[in-house]
Symmetry: C2
Subunit: 344 residues, 2 copies
């Protein structure tokens, strides 16, 4: 029988995690006090601002253990925080992790979760500098605070899009939502782990390197990562910037995998592209004359598609403040769904 947390106790678990972090994690000279004191401490870089984000994932609400391996869960939880830092244009540096865990959890699963954290952080030489582990008698939860740095004054906000700006999106929003549908229909991840849409859900990419490059370029007017779906997050830009948006139906990116799966199931792939989905892609707005340069900045880093999907407008009438126009001239106003965790 594998060991459980109640076999080795809290202090035993902390020792195992410390050893794992020493073995697998990076080191950073700016950390002046690591894990093991009342606080961790680091020396901030001169000329930089500190960025901070946090996100909590509760089992049963934000993930189901039967759909995702512990390694992928850890990687995904850290990825979504890295995505937030990257969507401002920053570089992730230091993480704090709070876990609430049932005592019947297997130790090796907790270690795998941490390994997932470390695998997501290592490419940035970012390190876990603190956190705590507590027993939860209800659902497991993971709460991560991620601290990043960015050259002072270069953050790209969501509140600074302007009418006339082009709207760009990286990657293929909606793939993660389709992957979740596949898991829900199948009842487990078994046999589906390598389906490209399931991988998009369980092993999402972030675009933090791309986001940082876009911020450095100074070419974008606004940026946000996609965690509430393309419409939801474009809606956040519209609300915060006091603008509207018009999308071009034919320009919305549909991946081959999503198109094929949707055709098989007689679903409209655009429902996934536009709707709730945790893709951790970027929405970027910029003056139209900068589209080409932003594409160059991103393509210099790797093969990430960038689609010009529409334009920022003055505020539009209608609940959603976003329209989709087809090249055949038909427009429809879209209502955003967005998550509402407490809704009945």
């Amino acid at each position: 029988m594998p060991e459980t947390l109640s076999d080795i106790g809290e202090f035993g678990l902390i020792e195992r995690i410390d050893a794992l972090l020493k073995r697998e994690g990076k080191r950073t000279p700016e950390v002046t006090i690591g894990i093991g004191d009342d606080c961790a401490a680091f020396q901030p870089r001169a000329g930089h601002e500190i960025l901070v984000t946090c996100d909590v994932m509760v089992e049963g609400r934000h993930y189901l253990a039967k759909f995702i391996s512990p390694l992928d869960l850890g990687r995904r939880a850290m990825t979504l925080n890295i995505s937030d830092i990257g969507a401002m244009g920053g570089i992730p540096r230091y993480a704090l992790v709070s876990l609430g865990l049932r005592r019947d959890m297997w130790v090796e699963d907790v270690e795998a979760i941490y390994l997932g954290f470390v695998e997501a952080l290592n490419p940035f030489h970012a390190v876990i500098i603190g956190g705590n582990i507590t027993r939860s008698d209800g659902a497991n939860f993971i709460d991560i605070t991620l601290i990043g740095e960015i050259k002072s004054g270069t953050s790209v906000r969501r509140s600074t899009a302007r009418p006339g700006d082009a709207i760009l999106a990286t990657g293929y929003p909606g793939e993660a939502a389709a992957g979740l549908q596949i898991l829900l229909a199948g009842g487990s991840a078994h046999g589906w782990e390598d389906h490209p849409l399931v991988r998009a859900y369980n092993r999402p990419s972030h675009r933090a390197v791309e986001g940082a490059a876009v911020a450095r370029s100074g070419l974008a007017t606004a940026m946000i990562d996609i965690s509430d779906g393309l419409l939801g997050d474009l809606g956040h830009i519209c609300d915060a910037s006091g603008v509207g948006a018009r999308l071009v139906h034919e320009n919305l990116p549909i991946s081959p995998a999503l198109r094929e799966w949707a055709a098989q199931l007689k679903k409209d792939p655009l429902d996934f592209v536009l709707g709730d989905s945790d893709d951790y892609e970027l929405i970027i707005t910029c003056p139209p004359e900068h589209i080409k340069d932003i594409r160059s900045v991103i393509s210099a880093l790797g093969p990430v598609p960038v689609s010009a999907i529409g334009e920022i407008t003055s505020p539009l009438k209608g609940a959603g403040n976003i329209q989709v126009t087809s090249t055949n001239g038909i427009s429809r106003s879209l209502s955003r769904s967005g998550w509402n965790h407490f809704a009945r």
Copy 2:
């Protein structure tokens, strides 16, 4: 009927909390991006290190709603993080708060929790710059990350106590544990709210102002706050510093309230002074010739008692590495209990 979270939804709640923070919280010019974007951002102070701590409180494990009001719960949750920053010698500046809440929670109770956070932060002009609220179908939980600043190189560690150092303790450790006993015996806080020991548990002080002054003085060799009890936290100093400790029985501080309550119940008050207790007092070590000056530094800030309770030694034999010696010459070795959240 008061409103519940499911009546107003996640976005409704966030609006209410934003309004509360704007109304009741302070503002800080160093915050360059507040709540409402992918990340918050602040400009760190030149010549300072950043301190970070986080602590999670799970209902049913770390608190019971019937024992503590929402306002006190918020204040207490923030106080224990402030205490950690203060125990390094730092000043709290920025907080992120993650809440997991059942949807039958009353909105006014959530607002009261936030008001408690703000009341604890305001004396430092510290501000909440981010966080998230999610639905929990199990227990409510509160996870706070608190960020502080300290002049570079002046943190007081737990790992730097030296044999021959005196051991000082502020206040009256053990009062909080006795207060918890009173609540457990009574079954609720009703009628006990103003008992001094119950207040010590529900409305603990922190010694962050004192800790910062001690760090500035440069007189201490090590410092820690008491969240695992006097023995538990002194044990952390001993482990981290590779030393032992000898306490003087007669010098251990017993408050009049604890002495009276223990006498009534025929309990040994020292079991509470030494045992598990969340008092958020400080243990400070220093060369004996600095005791007087540290007392002066602390007494200049207010009427906080400081007791010289023993001395740091070379490592001692025996499981606990800490002895208590009476003036009559009798010594006993102490075993630390310490919390172990996963133990059966």
